[in-house]
Symmetry: D4
Subunit: 219 residues, 8 copies
């Protein structure tokens, strides 16, 4: 028995356990998906490369795939069913896959997601002329590699929590995401929570938890 599915999670948090695809064989992933489909809730796996999806699809024909996000799931995003709006921003074009991992996770979990790509601080006017995306959000996910400065600027404009996602985009002294990670942890702008490098999934779940708390409080 190579996997123990955490079924409490769906009940407790409203979000299911999600399969981390990166270090599993296609056989293992198939078995877990089939086990999980018996339960209620979203069944999805992250870090699934296109070739792995092709293999999985042969025995799970109803499995869908979101290639930029590298996510596969048994269901598709529908009209948002949850309260609260998530805005997701990227600093550059190369950060989009991580941002899509967050976006698709959020949408599969029922949230409304707004995307704003390539508004990094080296051309601040691009962000300033899209201010409304920042102001309209209930929670912000800001994704950036290289120097990772975007969350600081966004948090200085926003009136809601900011989740900062460093990416491994960059070269040389970016050290595969260490540079933006440190930038985000050291931000002078308070009200930022940081997740692991390239962890779009975790950012979306945290955003979901934040919005879910809103619902709980309002009762």
């Amino acid at each position: 028995e190579f996997a123990k599915i955490d079924r409490h999670r769906q009940l407790r948090t409203g979000f299911p356990e999600v399969i981390w695809g990166a270090d599993k064989t296609p056989e293992q992933i198939t078995k877990i998906i089939n086990l999980m489909r018996q339960d209620d809730g979203v069944v999805m796996a992250t870090r699934i490369e296109a070739e792995v999806y092709q293999q999985l699809k042969q025995t799970i024909p109803d499995l869908m795939y979101y290639p930029t996000a590298r996510i596969c799931a048994l269901s598709a995003p529908k009209t948002p069913s949850q309260i609260g709006k998530i805005s997701i921003l990227t600093a550059g074009t190369a950060d989009i896959p991580v941002a899509e991992e967050a976006a698709v996770t959020g949408e599969l979990c029922g949230f409304a997601v707004t995307r704003l790509w390539d508004v990094g601080v080296a051309g601040i006017h691009r962000l300033l002329s899209n201010r409304d995306v920042v102001y309209n959000a209930d929670v912000l996910i800001v994704v950036a590699g290289m120097e990772g400065a975007l969350p600081s600027v966004v948090a200085g404009m926003a009136d809601c929590p900011v989740i900062a996602v460093p990416t491994s985009v960059g070269y040389g002294a970016s050290f595969s995401g260490v540079a933006p990670l440190l930038t985000m942890l050291n931000s002078c702008a308070a009200g930022i929570g940081v997740v692991n490098i390239d962890n779009g999934f975790g950012a979306a779940i945290l955003a979901g938890q934040i919005l879910r708390t809103a619902k709980k409080i309002s009762r």
Copy 2:
């Protein structure tokens, strides 16, 4: 003019700019406090050692001091005026000063704060027998040094967002907080936002933002 107070912040986020006391002279801190007292809202400074407070008090007689938290402020925590409950946990006794920085900040900003100290994972029964503190929270702040494993376990039990605060408590291979910082960033439990080492203040502001967004949505 050595300081430009960010007066937008209070309006935008409901939380004031807070004075970072660590790298400023007492003269600088005094001037900034006096400038800020003309505005509405909380006036407070963090990282104030007891001796510095004694100096400040001479020219600002109504300044109060919270020694464990190393915070001074022009006002005291009152009956909570804001919606939402913050629970703050520590793994050990030595993590309390960082946790108090979070607690006092939260209370000065008007939130109800519950404290639970010394429930680290090496004696898991201590946490399990205080489960209600976890379950009753709307947002959790979990403070831990050394191996920093407490937020993972707590996030696996909670149904609300968890803010993880690594501390510099420890020795040897804890590298002044790097070990718990990495632990928290790598947590298998999704729904955790991490802040800088020893940053109790930032954790409280993020908690406040989460609860504020919750209030906004729930209207």
Copy 3:
């Protein structure tokens, strides 16, 4: 003469020198296996990929292979012949190969091994509902990547020595196993000995030494 087999080791410790396969050519491994088979005791090699095994098998037809553990050996595990029970736990599914390296090594050396996979701290109930595996052990090997918190929790429940094995499973700020390594070295739970990242083999030999000393004393 590219290798000097350490024949004292079998006599001294009851465990043979084991061939580290990773940086050797198939020709070198074959020669060493043939040299060692002349002695008493277990002949085995670790870090053998499936293709390398296929090459070795052509000239050593009685060589067996344990693919998940990536171990090949001239003998198979039999009914345990040594005193003492080893329990091996993993935090996740992806940690299984390292844990199997420990398990197969232990079994080839004659010990009884109990396996418990995927009981990481992010869903603590999975561990709590398998408590007996912890309580029944004479020595515990706990294998974990990402945040590596499982050994701390296990050591807080166990009444026997805990050997902690960090794995390179994870991404981003896990830094190929550095994060769980630091977590384990900094554990607040005393009674933990740590081995190198992914070193399932070393953990099993240490467990064997512990049980062997126990046997020696108890006479």
Copy 4:
């Protein structure tokens, strides 16, 4: 309530919780000692500087002090009451304080301890002419700073488990104990468990657990 004493530990492991003195105020230490003295078992604190001990002694007159080990305790080592012999070795003179932390902890817990100081590998004849200390042990604790090579050599001679303790002794590229820590984790000699830099205490507790397991098995 700043501290929750882990009373299960004495029952479960035979060893009490021990007070980590480094980040506590004398008042906190005093309160915890007085709480713990009501239980059975050893009451001790580590990382107590001489001046702190002088303060503690004023309200706890029966408190004893072991200055090199920087340990204070309510009891003294007596004739060994536990089964099994611990040998403790250091590479140099400067490693003695860490080794004494291990030795005094072991003795307070009832074990027989043999000390062998200053037998580092740069003059290997010093170790070779003290071979019997290695051969007579049931468990070995080997303490070394700078290059930290002693545990490798000792483990290559011993027939029992070796606990390796890196120390922060050294300068420059020893990086406060990182160099010997890495040396020990990478040892080619199997059967070594490593603890945190300067963690003599943890080494002694692990040694105790190992010997206790021996007792348990022999029943």
Copy 5:
């Protein structure tokens, strides 16, 4: 003869060798100042603490001191004699000493310097409402600790070279200036040259070289 003054430098670059005060005895500094005063050009020393200055002044009565910049010199800034305007910005109040090291060096070398303090990106409106300081410069020196994001934003607005100076201001994961250093090296905004952590002096000399080359070309 403990010091060999580099007299070519003044001739070659128009800027003198400057005495690095931090690792020298007051006696050594005094001797070097007296040697250098025989030449033409500015005689100055950096990293001079107030107490050291008091000692130096006893034997060099005409020595002046700039306490925030920690610079002492035999001359004072005068009406700018060189072509080109340097603007110096800081992200926070605590970065001012490093910025003053740059400013006083620049002024002693004859340049016009404009100062703009505390305009970090967490409150971007503070920078935006001081745009003219950026637009009026011929070369910009941008000084920032913590996340160090200010140079990226400034370089995205400026039409002249930007010299980025990381400072050791911050705590935890700022690692004494490593975080802002990495941020600056990874900036998406091209046209930034980075100097060592806290190296205000080097930034001013580079600015001077840039303006001097400008003058040379423009002839």
Copy 6:
């Protein structure tokens, strides 16, 4: 809309936004090139491998390629149109690709570029017998891997700004360019600005900004 072209940059700095090719798909690069060709100014992309260029050329037949520099562009270097001379030096042969990235960028932007390859400090006579390349420059770009010492020596000879570019050339303790990066940041020779590891492009843009400032001042 995956990319927001920063059209202000050409106007503001005289240099266009340049496409970072490394993390983009050929489709994305093609779309951006076609968008940018509608504007005035240079259209170029860096970090383009030969195979990617072959793909791009199929739909953009007038695209040119500079293989050593790994740059593709819609235009070729012409007779220099800008004021000021850039000299580019390398320490070794293996540093040439990074230096060519700088050289081609500089030439495409209209500057006169002089190349001097393989004059590293281990044979200082090679540099000393090419002194004129140093003396004739208005700005110097010095490219070095391994120990990265060349910029220090060059800056000690030059009378103009030096831009230092560390490269990832080397092995072992060069840590993919960290060693030369640190060397350059710590240079005793003042007047050096450092860019990211392998960032030939950024060095050329900074050189261009420096020369452009010269032009501006001289008006």
Copy 7:
């Protein structure tokens, strides 16, 4: 002109410049070999993979290859012509390629070389029973990966200089050679000079310089 051969080196040191093959194209290597063959002295290149050698051989038919050492040269080792004996030791089998780089370089330069492989400290008797190789040397090169402890032990037995070569052999916390590098730099045994990770070539040249100095002094 992509390469400037350092012809002074042969005259000055008695050893030629040697071509570093790793970052050069076969065309570049061919051109440099042909340039250098016009001079006196050894012509050789290091870090040449077998396939590269096959390419080079087509245009340079008299080029010889030493596959384990990954060296190609225009001449073969002959009867030693130089004064002084070099002994080269490795800790393990996997360190042999680096040791052979040193051995072949030494032999091509005319020195007598004795090889002793696989005598690491984890089985110290293997070294002790080969003591004469240590005692008969005029200079020792000791090559070790993983924990890298062999040079310390050897230097404690030898009466001649020891050159320590860390290798990238190992896994996990060996960090590609950092662990043995630190071990060697921190050795308690004085009289050790360390070279870069995997730098067998540099060790041989240093050994040659040492023996050459002997010759010089004796005149």
Copy 8:
């Protein structure tokens, strides 16, 4: 018995064991000096601060002190008695204490030592005009902090072995000597052996071993 003096060392290598003073109490140092004075040969201790020397002198009246080198010894340097000349160079003034540790050690062991201070590469003419110190040496010790480039340049001029000593002199990104250490390990100039940061003593002993081997061979 806290110290085991390695008496073989004097016999074997011609150089005595030397007392490392930094982590020992004055009582320990006194006892060891008194033990060692009974043997033949030099008795000396390094890393002795002035106050410690004052304490030692009270019970060892014939103890001499070399304050810049921080060495105390029972004898003084005399007319050189050993064959071979050591030249010691520093890059800056602040490196002198480490260089003096090497110089005094060399002189106490009987060698002729030439000193050349403050000839760092940022003003290369200072080195070039002192060429003879390089050419006249039989072995060179080159001491440098900050960027640590001097050994590369010197080794490119010298015809004898170069021992490179990185120092902790510098700030910011010199990381207490890591920057020059990496520079020296990565030097393109072959024939350099590196010792630990600030290890002037070890450099002198290695120089002594080199000259001793030279003498042995030349017989």
